[in-house]
């Protein structure tokens, strides 16, 4: 693997939209007992369901720590590939490579990873295995890479339309625990160089109480260039209402890199979901890891879906809006098979289906 000192923009590489064709998908296998209840067994069942659902559409690789290799291999279907890649937790969206392509070759952008805020407000310590994971995926796939030693980014904090536009949140990218040595313009400059985009749309905040400092991928997603989905509630008493309304105003006001107005679909959120006593008690208490306390509200959102070749895999919550979410997604993606997976066990770990997946683009 070669590490370039040039940038993707200089080399003519861009980040495709997630809706473009994939070579395959990476997932990391969950195991840490201070984040996943009951020895991670319930989460593993749901991760296996997600892997199986995606594998109906494209090749899936699951990265595991050595100690979980045999268990993962037995819990996953034969046609899902299992490989050893050491990790600190199971969020490949955030620690995996951001793949860029010139249409002939794929390269990985290997951002620095610091567990969503490092020593300021990170969620666990240490995070060195996660930080090395993107490099190892690139190696395994024989991709060359761009490494940014001084820029922290998680894949879940950005969405691109593959056509020059990137959407992110100020809550995350301007957070103290990320790149506080850089101002907004300097951060924009890095994103433009390394993702080859021209226009950055800044939302203010992500989903209420999202522990990632408001990752965009839990509140917003592109359907295709010029068209997007926004997590929404009509409940004005919910703190989420003001957040979503503010996002909507920005999205309706802005134009994208090609000068288009964005068509915004509202994807209605489930009712607030709280951690139960039983769920809280199933998690090991470890100093330095974000605790999972009874009664804490989870950042549940249907927007945290994943687009794979011909498919949409989205989370359900046994909520009355599950059906409405499916209908909205089917309207937005009429050519894709829309599959819901009951994902409370992923949500309990701090994210959802989009957070646990990372696409490798097709060339």
């Amino acid at each position: 693997m070669k590490t370039y000192t040039t940038t993707p923009k200089e080399d003519g590489f861009r980040m495709p939209g997630e809706f473009e064709n994939h070579l395959g998908t990476y997932i990391i296998w969950p195991e840490r007992t201070d984040n996943w209840r009951l020895g991670a067994k319930p989460a593993q069942e749901v991760f296996a369901q997600v892997a199986s659902a995606i594998a109906e559409h494209e090749a899936v690789t699951v990265a595991v720590n050595e100690g979980q290799y045999a268990n993962a291999r037995h819990m996953l279907p034969d046609h899902v590939r299992v490989v050893e890649i050491s990790n600190d937790d199971a969020w490949v969206r955030d620690c995996g490579p951001t793949c860029v392509t010139d249409g002939k070759e794929v390269r990985g952008v290997d951002w620095r990873f610091n567990a969503w805020g490092g020593l300021v407000d990170g969620l666990y310590f240490p995070w060195d295995k996660d930080d090395a994971l993107a490099q190892k995926v690139c190696e395994l796939e024989r991709f060359n890479r761009y490494r940014l030693d001084h820029f922290i980014l998680e894949g879940g904090s950005i969405h691109t339309d593959g056509d020059g536009t990137l959407v992110t949140t100020e809550e995350c990218l301007l957070s103290e625990g990320r790149n506080s040595h850089l101002n907004k313009e300097q951060i924009e400059a890095v994103l433009k160089e390394y993702l080859n985009v021209e226009k950055i749309i800044w939302l203010k905040r992500g989903i209420y109480l999202d522990e990632t400092n408001g990752h965009v991928d839990n509140i917003f997603a592109f359907v295709k260039p010029g068209e997007c989905l926004l997590a929404w509630t009509d409940d004005k008493e919910d703190p989420q209402y003001e957040i979503s309304r503010e996002c909507l105003e920005i999205l309706e006001r802005e134009t994208d890199a090609r000068g288009r107005k964005l068509k915004v679909h509202k994807l209605h959120l489930p009712k607030p979901i709280l951690i139960t006593k039983e769920e809280s008690h199933g998690v090991d208490a470890v100093d330095g890891t974000l605790p999972r306390k009874e009664g804490d509200r989870l950042a549940a959102s249907y927007v945290n879906f994943y687009l794979c070749n011909g498919g949409v895999i989205y989370p359900t919550f046994h909520d009355e809006n599950d059906q409405r979410a499916e209908e909205t997604l089917k309207e937005c993606f009429p050519d894709r098979e829309v599959t819901g997976i009951y994902a409370r066990e992923i949500l309990l770990g701090g994210g959802n289906i989009h957070c646990i997946t990372q696409q490798i683009p097709m060339v």
Copy 2:
């Protein structure tokens, strides 16, 4: 990855000769300080030289334990791929998959591995990571596999001509620490089913004092069907003389699966090489691992070379026969580039270049 309950012979798969075209080569990175002196640093230098030399001819993947990933990545050239696959030591010839092909697809034969003799006379304990390595290589390469839960074999204990003939040694395959629940005929039957060969030529013993119980790959190699190399000495005082003479008689007496007489080239051994005091003192003493004692004779042999696409990578010993070995190899392989690597550091660990490589056939 699918695990078949059929056999390669039933499915029309055969093990190609090493001299046939390769997709690439696997190597495992050395690190255990109870086998490799001075924290394995000198051995790592030589492994890196071997990887680099092979990478001149074909794609090389180096499997490493997590803790050595960064070091291996820095010591190896960019175009050598580094992947995490947990291991107990660095002998992929013996614990890696034996690849079989039908010309369209490659599958792995995943023998059981017990560190050259298990609890009878194995060389270290435990060996569970090594035993799982073949499966992980198959997974990574997206090969399906055949798994033999009740048959112990190391790749270094067999050589095939790809044309129906297999050569092995009684010293190893009939050893008490391998398959003592099976007799010679039963062992032959397994080899014939899983490697799709018709004729097995049994040499008696391998190189004098070879700790692998006389692996064939240190004393014998095929040049091509009908033609082979045999480790040789003219020194009648050397215990090796009688061993090599016995092999020669068998090889001259036997015919191969196609009824051919074998043309045997003698590859003259270096003079006896003994472990020095300094070398012995550089190795950690650990109960249960074969000690490296000052004055012990090493099983040095030029036959422990590796054939890669268009190349022969062979060990040198700073011995007067180095030049003669090169000449013999150039005569045998006129169309290949012959490269010698000073390999005392590999020899000190108990094997040589062939032992640390495993070919993946091209289809």
